[in-house]
C-alpha cells in the first residue's frame, strides 16, 4: 500500500512537470509547427517568464540576498501576466532583425538570446540574485490548502497511514489541477486560433511564404505575431514552473531542460498538432523519468547517469527524424498518396 501511495504521489508530481512542459511545447508548436519559425532558444522565453513572475509575485528582497528590486508580492495571476508580457517583449525584439531572413538566422539569434539571458541571470545580481537564484517563491493558496490538509489529518487521527500520506500531499493535487486547467484552456485557445483564418495564414507561411504574400498577407507581421504569442505561452510555462518549484536559478534554464527537450517533445508528439504537442510532453518526460529508474540500477555516478539519459534523448530525437518524422500524431489524418510516377 505504501508503495502504491508513493507511486500516486510520484505520478502527481510527474504530471505537474510534464504539464508545464506541455505548455512550452504548445508555444513551440505555434511557432514551429504552424508557422515554421525555427526557434531554438525556448529557454530564453521560459526563463524570462519564470523570473518575471517570481519578481512580481515573490517576496521582497531581504538583507541576505543581493537583490535590489522585485518582490512585489502580487497575486499569482499577475505574475502569470507579467511572465507572458516579458517573454513577449523579448520575442518582439528578437523577431524584428531576424524574421525577414532565412530560418538559419532566427535559429542562431534565438540560441544567442537564450545564452545572453542566462548570462544576465548569472551576472545581474541586483535583479536576479545571480547564481543563487530566487528563493521562497509563493505557491498560490499554498498556506490555506496545506493548513487545511494538516488540520484534516490532525482532526482525523483514525486515518490509515497511506490515506494520511495522500492527504498531506493535497497541495500537489491542487497545483496539478491548476496546470491541467491552464493546459486545457491554452489548448482550446490555440485550437480556436489554429482553425481560424489567422492560423490558416500561419500554415500558408510555413508552406510557402511567397504564396502567402501573393495572397495579400503581410508575412512579416504574421510571423511576428506567432513568435510573440508563442513566446508568451512559453513565458506562462515559466511562471508555472517557478511557482511550483518555488526556487529558480540560472541552472534551471540550461539549453537541455529549457529548449532541447521541448523540441524532442514536439517532434515526437507531432509537429503541427496541438494534441501531439501535449502528448509528446508526457511521453518524453515519461521517458526521461523512466531512464532515471533504469540508470539507477547501473553502477554509475550521478553525473554519468544524467549524461547517459541526455544521450538517450538525443538519440531519440535523431531516430524520430529518421523513422517517423511526422511524429505520433501527424498534423493531418489524411494520408498523403504516394506519387504516381517514380522520379
Amino acid at each position: 500500500m505504501e508503495l502504491f501511495v508513493g507511486i500516486i504521489n510520484y505520478l502527481v508530481f510527474f504530471a505537474i512537470t510534464a504539464g508545464t512542459y506541455g505548455v512550452l511545447s504548445l508555444g513551440l508548436n505555434l511557432q514551429w509547427g504552424y508557422t515554421g519559425l525555427f526557434n531554438i532558444g525556448v529557454a530564453a522565453f521560459y526563463a524570462v517568464g519564470a523570473y518575471a513572475s517570481a519578481l512580481v509575485s515573490g517576496p521582497p528582497p531581504d538583507m541576505w540576498d543581493g537583490r535590489l528590486v522585485g518582490g512585489f508580492e502580487l497575486p499569482f495571476i499577475l505574475g502569470i501576466l507579467a511572465a507572458a508580457l516579458a517573454a513577449g517583449i523579448i520575442a518582439f525584439l528578437i523577431g524584428i532583425p531576424t524574421l525577414r531572413l532565412r530560418a538559419d538566422y532566427l535559429a542562431i539569434a534565438t540560441i544567442g538570446i537564450a545564452e545572453t539571458i542566462r548570462m544576465v541571470l548569472k551576472n545581474e545580481a541586483w535583479l536576479t540574485n545571480g547564481v543563487w537564484g530566487l528563493q521562497q517563491l509563493p505557491s498560490p493558496f499554498y498556506d490555506a490548502i496545506h493548513r487545511g490538509a494538516t488540520g484534516f489529518v490532525q482532526t482525523h487521527p483514525d486515518l490509515s497511514p497511506w490515506l494520511r500520506a495522500l492527504v498531506l500531499k493535497a497541495y500537489n493535487w491542487f497545483y496539478l489541477f491548476l496546470v491541467i486547467a491552464a493546459l486545457f484552456l491554452l489548448y482550446l485557445f490555440l485550437r480556436r486560433l489554429a482553425q481560424s483564418p489567422w492560423g490558416r495564414v500561419l500554415r500558408a507561411i510555413r508552406e510557402d511564404e511567397v504564396v502567402a504574400s501573393m495572397s495579400g498577407k503581410n508575412v512579416f507581421a504574421f510571423k511576428l505575431q506567432a513568435l510573440v504569442l508563442g513566446a508568451m505561452i512559453m513565458g506562462i510555462g515559466g511562471a508555472f514552473y517557478a511557482h511550483y518549484a518555488r526556487f529558480i536559478s540560472p541552472t534551471s534554464f540550461e539549453p537541455f531542460y529549457g529548449t532541447f527537450i521541448v523540441w524532442v517533445m514536439l517532434i515526437l508528439g507531432g509537429t503541427g498538432n496541438n494534441k501531439g504537442a501535449i502528448l509528446g510532453a508526457f511521453v518524453v518526460w515519461g521517458t526521461w523519468a523512466g531512464t532515471d529508474f533504469i540508470t539507477g540500477y547501473l553502477p554509475l555516478s550521478p553525473t554519468q547517469e544524467a549524461s547517459l539519459r541526455i544521450i538517450v534523448i538525443g538519440i531519440l530525437l535523431v531516430s524520430i527524424l529518421l523513422v517517423r518524422p511526422q511524429g505520433l500524431l501527424p498534423e493531418m489524418r489524411q494520408r498523403r498518396r504516394t506519387p504516381r510516377t517514380p522520379e
Binding site: 531554438i40 530560418a103 538559419d104 544567442g112 530525437l317
Partner: protein, 305 residues
C-alpha cells in the same frame, strides 16, 4: 582601462584564431551541405577530449613528453592532437554515413534539428566518460614574457596557437585554390548541379567537407584547451554562438569570411572586457550578430543570394 587595450587586442587575436578555425568548418558545411551545423562546437570538444585520451597512448609508444622549447607541451601532445583530429573526422564521417546521408532529401531544417540531437548526445557522451569537471592537458605553469615597446605580455603557448591557426588557414587556402579536390569543393558550393554535370561526385565532396571541417574543429578544440589551460565538455557549445556570429559577420558560406569574422569577433570580445563584465563576452558576439543582421545580413564578404 585604455592601457589594457593592446594586451586585450593580443588576447583577441589568440581567441580569434580559434574562432576562425571553428568557423571555417561551419562555413564549409553550410556552403556544400547547405545547412547550419549546430553540432560543430561539440565536434570541437570531441577533438579536444580524444586528444586528451590519446596522450597516454602516445606515451606508451615511447613518444617523449618533454616540453619543446618554451612551450608547455611536447611531441607527445602534438602527436596525440594530430591523431585526435583524425579520430574526430572518422567519427563525424561515420555520423554522416549513418544519419545525415539518409536525411539529405528531408530538407535543410530537418538536418539542422538532427545536428542538435547529435550535439546533445556528443556533449553528454564526453561528460559521461570524463565528467563535467575541467581536465588539464598539462600541469606545467607557463610564465608570460613581457614584450618590450608593445606593453603586452605574451605566453609562448599563445604564439603557438596563433601560428598554428595561421599555418592551417594558409594550408586550407592552398588546398582550395590549387588542388583538384579543393577546386571541386568550391565548384560544388558555387553550383551543385553544374558540378555534377562536369562529373564531380558530390558524395565524395561531402566526405571531404566533413573531413576538413571536423579536423579543423578538433584542432580548434585542442587549441582552446591550450589557451584556456583546461577543457570541459561544454567547451564547444560555449563557443558556438561566437563562431556563428563570426561566420555570419564574414558572410556565411565563405570560409575566408569566417576567418575575418573570427578575428573581429575574438578581438571585440576581449576588448569589451575593458568596459563590461567578463561574464558578457559571448553577449558581445550576439550583439555583433544582431547588428550585422540589421545592417547587412549577407555579411562582410558574403555574396548576395
Amino acid at each position: 582601462m585604455l592601457s589594457r587595450i593592446p594586451q586585450l587586442l593580443f588576447y583577441g587575436l589568440v581567441s580569434g584564431s580559434i574562432l576562425a578555425l571553428g568557423g571555417i568548418g561551419v562555413s564549409l558545411t553550410y556552403s556544400i551541405l547547405r545547412f547550419s551545423n549546430f553540432a560543430h562546437g561539440d565536434m570541437m570538444a570531441l577533438g579536444a577530449y580524444l586528444t586528451l585520451a590519446l596522450i597516454p597512448v602516445a606515451g606508451t609508444l615511447g613518444i617523449p613528453s618533454a616540453a619543446i622549447g618554451p612551450l608547455s607541451f611536447g611531441p607527445r601532445f602534438i602527436v596525440a592532437a594530430v591523431v585526435g583530429m583524425a579520430c574526430t573526422f572518422v567519427i563525424v564521417v561515420a555520423l554522416d554515413r549513418l544519419i545525415f546521408r539518409r536525411l539529405r532529401k528531408a530538407g535543410r531544417i530537418t538536418l539542422m534539428i538532427t545536428t542538435i540531437g547529435i550535439a546533445l548526445s556528443m556533449r553528454n557522451a564526453l561528460q559521461f566518460f570524463w565528467g563535467p569537471q575541467p581536465q588539464y592537458y598539462t600541469a606545467r605553469i607557463q610564465l608570460a614574457i613581457q614584450v618590450p615597446r608593445l606593453a603586452i605580455r605574451v605566453k609562448p603557448d599563445q604564439l603557438f596557437v596563433i601560428s598554428v591557426a595561421v599555418l592551417l588557414v594558409a594550408l586550407l587556402h592552398l588546398f582550395l585554390r590549387y588542388t583538384k579536390t579543393g577546386k571541386a569543393m568550391r565548384a560544388t558550393s558555387d553550383n551543385p548541379s553544374l558540378a555534377q554535370v562536369t562529373g564531380i561526385n558530390t558524395e565524395r565532396i561531402i566526405l571531404w567537407t566533413w573531413v576538413i571541417g571536423a579536423s579543423l574543429a578538433a584542432l580548434a578544440g585542442v587549441l582552446a584547451g591550450v589557451e584556456n589551460k583546461f577543457i570541459t565538455p561544454e567547451l564547444g557549445w560555449q563557443m558556438l554562438l561566437s563562431i556563428f556570429a563570426a561566420v555570419i559577420l564574414g558572410g556565411i558560406g565563405n570560409p575566408y569570411g569566417a576567418i575575418l569574422g573570427g578575428v573581429i569577433v575574438g578581438v571585440s570580445e576581449e576588448v569589451s572586457t575593458a568596459f563590461i563584465s567578463t561574464g558578457y563576452k559571448p553577449a558581445v558576439a550576439f550583439g555583433i550578430l544582431v547588428l550585422m543582421l540589421l545592417i547587412r545580413p549577407t555579411g562582410l564578404l558574403g555574396r548576395r543570394s
